[in-house]
């Protein structure tokens, strides 16, 4: 059977696994943004937190993903459900680019703009939401884009601890020494990553500053 026929024959399972993968990545990105953006903002408000926060995120990034999944297995609430475990680990991975880009985006707002805003009597909250965040959108989006593509890749490893997704095809294919199975996982994963990168690139382009 050719690869194309294989894909056609198993298209339902492949789509199913793709949906599982998208779900893993989607939830992860929602959490990572919900946690990472506020942390990024916090770092700009309290600079002394920059080292511990960015440092921790950096450490999480440095641990090999498979090892991180393994570390979390014995944790009671997490180890019991592999998808929970995977989402926690994947979120930790996605945090660094998001925190870093959020804080950098805000820090790079023109000093004069910030001073004028403050001097005119805008509260810290108004400055954050009306000035700093809107001006940081491009940088933040770049971080989100990086984090998404990263997460799609690492999520394939999540199958090793039972979280499903496209990585499962890859691992099964390896166990059965079956190339077609491996590709059934690898190709959609690569396409997902490229697709997400492309779409987020469009969003970035659409929201770019006017010059």
């Amino acid at each position: 059977m050719s690869l194309l026929e294989f894909f056609q024959r198993h298209q339902r399972e492949i789509l199913q696994a793709t949906w599982e993968h998208v779900w893993l990545v989607g939830l992860t990105m929602i959490f990572a943004i919900a946690i990472g953006v506020p942390l990024g903002i916090l770092v700009t408000r309290k600079p002394w937190l920059s080292k511990p926060i960015l440092g921790s995120a950096n450490v999480a990034e440095t641990i090999p993903s498979l090892a991180l999944f393994g570390f979390l297995l014995p944790v009671p609430w997490l180890g019991g459900r592999a998808d929970r475990l995977a989402i926690v680990a994947l979120t930790l991975y996605a945090l660094l680019p998001i925190i870093r880009n959020t804080s950098a985006g805000i820090a790079n707002v023109d000093r004069a703009v910030r001073e004028a805003a403050r001097g005119m009597g805008m509260t810290d909250g108004q400055i954050l939401f009306q000035v700093e965040l809107p001006l940081s959108v491009p940088t933040m989006l770049a971080g989100i884009r990086i984090a998404t593509v990263l997460t799609i890749g690492i999520a394939t490893i999540a199958a090793a601890v039972g979280a499903g997704g496209l990585g499962e095809f890859i691992f099964r294919g390896l166990a059965m020494v079956n190339d077609q199975l491996i590709l059934a996982g690898a190709i959609p994963a690569a396409l997902l990553a490229l697709g997400a990168d492309f779409v987020l690139g469009l969003v970035q382009h659409g929201l770019r500053p006017v010059r």
């Binding site: 004069a112 004028a116 001097g119 005119m120 009597g121 108004q126 500053p209 006017v210 010059r211």
Partner: protein
């Protein structure tokens, strides 16, 4: 000549510094500064870089607070005011203007009125009024973005924005410093006329003697964190003390160089 000339209005000064000291990281930036600014006055703080002019200015809208002494605005210490309420009553113009790049000219000017909850129509007409006031006529500026304006136009929008909510007090920190001399001269004259009409209390920081003479009703010469002396423009021109004289000499050199050409 006494160090202080009393002004016509004998009631409470709008701005008052009482023995203000300010230090930061071990450096003394303001050293026992005392002055008053009466309603309708334009006080120009003149001095070299590092003299403490901007620091003093920032005391007024509480971007900085004194380490000793107090600054009173409308009779109340800045430290007693709610900082947001204080700043909303004071127009603030800085050298780099700091227009929001992601807002149109109209949105920039409308900023404080909107924050103060003015009804939409009033905001709209006020924006148009302000643009006319600062000399940006024709209604084609409203939808432009700051990046699409020239330096002089940006500066004018900055002033419009500062005046939009009709504050009693206007603070300006080297507002025209970034402009070329031609534009600067134009704007200074226009501003002078505006001053006359608006009757606000203005404090301007500059290191440009010419500007001080054109715009100020009083000139406060600052050096090393202190007020050396406060002059009327006339007195400043004919001053005999070394510092003022040096400034005037500089101005004459410039004048002569111009004439020689």
């Amino acid at each position: 000549m006494p160090a202080r000339t009393t002004h016509k209005d004998a009631s409470q000064p709008v701005i008052e510094f009482r023995n203000v000291h300010f230090s930061l990281s071990g450096r003394q930036l303001l050293n026992d500064v005392s002055l008053t600014v009466a309603q309708g006055e334009t006080l120009v703080l003149l001095g070299r870089s590092g003299a403490g002019k901007t620091t003093a200015l920032k005391m007024i809208n509480r971007l900085l607070a004194p380490t000793q002494g107090e600054v009173l605005v409308e009779g109340r210490a800045t430290t007693e005011w709610d900082p947001i309420a204080l700043r909303r009553r004071i127009g603030y113009v800085i050298q780099d203007v700091g227009l929001f790049p992601h807002y149109t000219v109209a949105q920039n000017i409308a900023l404080i009125p909107k924050l103060e909850g003015w009804p939409g129509e009033r905001v709209g007409s006020r924006v148009k009024e302000m643009l006319e006031t600062v000399g940006l006529h024709g209604g084609k500026f409203e939808q432009r973005y700051p990046s699409q304006l020239s330096g002089g136009q940006r500066q004018r929008v900055g002033v419009a924005r500062a005046l939009a909510a009709d504050p009693e007090i206007l603070l300006m920190d080297e507002p025209f410093g970034a402009l070329d001399p031609m534009t600067r001269g134009e704007i200074q004259n226009e501003f002078k006329a505006l001053e006359g009409r608006l009757k606000k209390t203005v404090v301007i920081v500059t290191h440009d003697v010419g500007e001080a003479l054109v715009l100020g009703t009083r000139i406060g010469l600052m050096e090393a964190g202190r007020i050396a002396r406060i002059y009327s423009p006339h007195d400043f021109v004919h001053a005999s003390d070394p510092m003022a004289a040096a400034y005037m000499a500089q101005l004459r050199v410039y004048d002569e160089a111009k004439r020689e050409k």
